[in-house]
């Protein structure tokens, strides 16, 4: 398999996934904010909440409409660009995706129509239920996608490898809903609340800066800021839980996130750093040109013990340390050798002429089947993910998360003191912060997905064995089509949203400009 094709296929999937991920978090977060606003309306807090709900529902609808179908193309890509992957793990990976399509997406699609078209046609309470059920549908949709993604990070629930069909098969569906899947779901969905809060506060601040729709804007900010604060705090807690699980299941990813080459006890969490661009994994050079760390924090995050040992990249490569399961780890080179033995046994099984030969080869394969994925590597070095990208993306995500917490608390303080309306500098910061919420969200995906490289499924199937051999030219061509299409769609969405914002909420007697 040519490296060019592997990298291009990776880039194409990354492009479609990241484009789709521009829309999903706003749908999840804005759905919650809209549902809260409508609840206030139904609870009798005034007609103004109906106007407020309908405006943000319009933004929700535009975002939903432009985002729809780009998720479907991702699922098609599994069949076109990642056909070997789909064959190899389809029995397991296909289950959550099918549930997502059949149950969650249909639920969301059904109730979203009532949410948009049902005003004054169904009772207030039924309409409110439809709004909450749309949110539930979108969230359930995210559950199954994230269960599938978490399984790629931590493949569990796998039975014996099917040597006849050359594929893995599901042994327990419930095992697939692992602790990592639950934490990943919570962290991703909750961080989407932060993004939506930043968008609502930013757009509402725009109205205040323009001296328009003051009551509407302040009401919107009041709801969004609470969702935002709750979202960031919960994202910090679930982020910590996620980091702890990554330490147990993907030590190489954690080492890359921290640019930790040589593991040690009392490891510090790097707060701020510039990486040494000349650093090679085995050259003994300092990985940083400059760094500031929180002492012992990485050890605590990874082991829940501030003295705990955190393995670095070289430790994972060389093995010999005690893993989270209490057993001594083996080196990647040993894993590669055992994987090659498994691969040879599989070949012998396929070429076996008699039942006896088959049984012998099958038993030989079973001995080392868990290392089969390593057979595709030539050297241990190949198993190191791109450290720089993962390291900086992690810092960007965390730093922006904390900055948003400070921003939301400041906004809440100014609202409480009834000074937000006049705080023009803060309003400008809120407006300008919108893109940074998206950057934080995308950075999170980069950490999760690039950190898993070179594996498509951690320790089971590397990307180079998963990609379909469809020719680099075809991938370049479609990559360019995707790029043009997504750019046009993005410009279209921004323009439609700008138009909707310019029009503003519907007639509202309480707006100060009326």
């Amino acid at each position: 398999m040519e490296q060019n094709l592997i990298d291009l296929s990776r880039a194409q999937f990354a492009l479609t996934a990241m484009f789709h991920w521009l829309f999903v978090p706003l749908t999840l977060g804005l759905g919650l904010i809209v549902a809260i606003m409508e609840t206030l309306y139904v609870k009798g807090k005034g007609e103004k909440w109906k106007t407020t709900t309908r405006f943000w529902m319009k933004i929700f609808g535009i975002n939903f409409a432009v985002g729809v179908a780009s998720g479907i193309i991702l699922e098609f890509e599994f069949g076109t660009n990642w056909a070997k992957y789909s064959w190899f793990v389809g029995d397991i990976f296909g289950v959550p995706l099918a549930i997502e399509g059949i149950v969650a997406f249909f639920m969301e699609a059904t109730f979203i129509a009532v949410m948009f078209f049902g005003w004054d046609k169904v009772s207030k309470r039924f309409h409110l239920a439809a709004t909450w059920l749309t949110l539930l549908g979108a969230t359930l949709s995210a559950v199954w996608i994230l269960v599938a993604n978490a399984w790629m990070q931590n493949p569990v629930g796998i039975g014996e490898f099917n040597v006849d069909l050359v594929r893995t098969e599901l042994s327990s569906f419930w095992a697939v809903i692992s602790p990592l899947a639950i934490v990943k779901f919570l962290h991703t969905v909750i961080s989407s609340w932060m993004l939506a809060a930043a968008v609502v506060i930013g757009i509402a601040s725009f109205y205040l800066l323009k001296g328009r729709e003051k009551t509407f804007a302040l009401d919107s900010i009041r709801v969004a800021v609470k969702v935002g604060i709750a979202g960031v705090i919960a994202a910090i807690i679930t982020g910590d839980m996620s980091g702890n699980l990554v330490a147990k299941t993907q030590p190489m990813k954690l080492a890359a996130m921290e640019s930790l080459y040589d593991g040690h006890n009392n490891a510090g969490l790097v707060a701020l750093a510039v990486l040494n661009p000349d650093k090679k994994f085995d050259d003994g050079k300092d990985p940083f040109l400059f760094n500031v760390s929180f002492p012992n924090m990485l050890s605590f995050l990874a082991t829940r013990n501030s003295n705990g040992f955190v393995p670095g990249i070289n430790d994972v490569l060389k093995g010999g340390y005690i893993g989270p399961d209490g057993a001594q780890t083996i080196s990647v080179n040993e894993k590669i050798a055992l994987g090659k033995d498994a691969s040879l046994a599989l070949k012998e099984y396929k070429n076996a002429a008699t039942e006896d030969e088959k049984t012998k080869a099958r038993n030989a394969f079973r001995k080392n089947e868990k290392y089969f994925g390593y057979s595709f590597f030539k050297s241990a070095e190949e198993t190191i993910p791109p450290v720089g990208l993962v390291f900086y993306a992690f810092r960007i995500m965390v730093a922006l998360g904390f900055l948003f917490l400070i921003l939301f608390i400041t906004v809440e303080y100014f609202l409480h003191k009834k000074r937000f309306e006049k705080a023009r500098l803060l309003q400008k910061i809120c407006l300008l912060s919108i893109p940074f919420a998206y950057i934080a969200s995308q950075a999170g995906w980069i950490v999760a997905e690039v950190g898993r490289q070179p594996w498509a499924i951690q320790d089971i199937l590397p990307v180079k064995a998963a990609v379909t051999n469809i020719g680099a030219t075809s991938v370049i061509l479609t990559f360019c089509f995707f790029l043009v299409l997504f750019s046009v769609l993005l410009v279209a969405e921004v323009n439609i949203i700008r138009k909707a914002i310019r029009t503003g909420p519907e007639e509202n007697p309480q707006n100060t400009n009326q």
Partner: protein, 74 residues
């Protein structure tokens, strides 16, 4: 349409809703154009897939096995 009382009213709500969309029209154009372009790209990629002519599980597993052997030998 007044309040919904039966399934027919419910379907009417959808029809009226889609008809009454104002800001939704450019969105529908976007959705339709997007689906057409994405389907064309997916169809193109699918036509290039070497597994497209493999119909049985045996053929597919044989192909995957041979591909794995190739990657292992490279």
């Amino acid at each position: 349409m007044d309040k919904i009382r039966n399934v027919r009213d419910f379907l009417q709500m959808y029809i009226e809703g889609f008809k009454g969309l104002t800001w939704g029209k450019p969105l529908w154009n976007i959705i339709i154009a997007k689906i057409i372009v994405l389907s064309a790209i997916a169809a193109f990629l699918a036509s290039k897939n070497p597994m497209k002519n493999l119909h049985t599980n045996n053929q597919k597993s044989e192909y995957i096995f041979n591909e794995f052997v190739k990657i292992n030998n490279n």
